[in-house]
Symmetry: C2
Subunit: 237 residues, 2 copies
């Protein structure tokens, strides 16, 4: 399943994380020593909605899918977490229960801190506290934008937006275009765009036929970002 042991964590790895922006290298060295690092296999559940033993997590390599389900069975993807990003942190400060499920999308290297450790770190380095506010604040703005999209835009535009967001967040350039790091099923794209598997499949397939993107081995590569962008900005009429 996973291995904790002997994974050396370089300070510059921490420096690349949103959580530790603006910290001195000396501080990072101390933090590295207090970090639990694990290598996780694909499709592993890191935590479940409602779990009470909360930790703050961050992805170093790979990716994690965060999903939330309601009292009815309905489920949506809250977001995908790529390298350098944190997850599961809000629960430390609110009710001490994870508000969602976290599952690895691929083999993933994950760092995490217990509540006590994180609070201690914030105490020693107030900048970390400000970073937490910044991260959560930015995420709040993103989710609010998603609310606006869901309420006012149609499925094709939402899928286009979702892809661009993913590319910005976890895309890396290849010979063919911008590839999204982690594997995505059609269902994932549907859940993050607020539509159904069927509609998402239709839309993505049509874009593949038009040459805007390609899927290989569950991984999406955007070949013509300009076209996706155009769709994401199309007039409502």
């Amino acid at each position: 399943m996973y291995s904790t042991m002997d994974i050396a964590l370089a300070p510059q790895t921490l420096a690349a994380m949103e959580l530790f922006q603006g910290l001195a290298v000396s501080a990072l060295e101390t933090i590295a020593a207090r970090t639990r690092v694990r290598r996780l296999s694909k499709d592993l559940r890191i935590f479940s909605q409602g779990d009470e033993e909360v930790r703050a997590h961050a992805v170093i390599e790979g990716g994690v899918r965060i999903t939330q389900s309601g009292s009815d069975g309905a489920q949506v993807v809250i977001r995908f977490i790529g390298p350098g990003e944190m997850f599961g942190t809000v629960s430390l400060f609110t009710d001490g229960r994870y508000p969602a499920d976290a599952i690895t999308l691929a083999e993933t290297l994950e760092a995490s801190w217990s509540e006590a450790e994180l609070l201690d770190l914030i105490h020693r380095h107030p900048q970390i506290g400000v970073n937490v506010i910044r991260i959560i604040g930015r995420r709040l703005q993103e989710v609010q934008e998603r609310v606006r999209e869901l309420a006012t835009q149609r499925a094709e535009r939402r899928v286009a937006h979702a892809l661009l967001r993913l590319a910005r967040q976890a895309g890396h350039s290849t010979i063919d275009g911008t590839a999204i790091e982690f594997p995505l099923r059609r269902k994932d794209v549907a859940d993050i765009s607020g539509t159904t598997l069927h509609t998402a499949s239709r839309i993505l397939t049509s874009w593949e036929k038009a040459g805007f993107l390609m899927t290989r081995d569950r991984r999406l590569t955007i070949r013509q970002p300009s076209e996706i962008l155009r769709i994401s900005e199309e007039a409502p009429d």
Copy 2:
């Protein structure tokens, strides 16, 4: 328009705010002195999306509507702010621009702090920083729930949820039932539920006819919360 002068701010007023939970009375007295308080008339724009002179705000009495508009004209209500709640705070920590518009729903008493003041307060009273994280975190969870609703539930359930949320947030008991403090037009209800004026009007009218709620002078009173609750929890099929 508004008057700033000579509004005495009692420490216990501050103590009732989410931002100052857990602070000593002595601290609150100092804070009161550093707070700008204004009485604002109805329908006054407190700030606009994109404004760069950001402050942190809180409502003491009355209410504020927070709306966001996209590059296309589409607009949604992000949330309504009732007594004791903060607004416009996230922008202090992200990009220094308000991400939305804020307009008073009624005559409103508002407190606010400049960026420098708030940062100084957080520095003196770290608990305030933790409170900010808690507030933003809770709001993030709420918005994520709204995303789930928008993606998976139909209009009637969403309107029901929205009303219950508003009642919890800004409701007070009257002889007829739970009344929502501030005036709401049909359009407001539509925008917060992610539907259209027409659909919202139809739904609310049908509930009025069924006796579940009443509107008087733009103010909604929920007479049979159990019925609204039932609708909000109805099975999808």
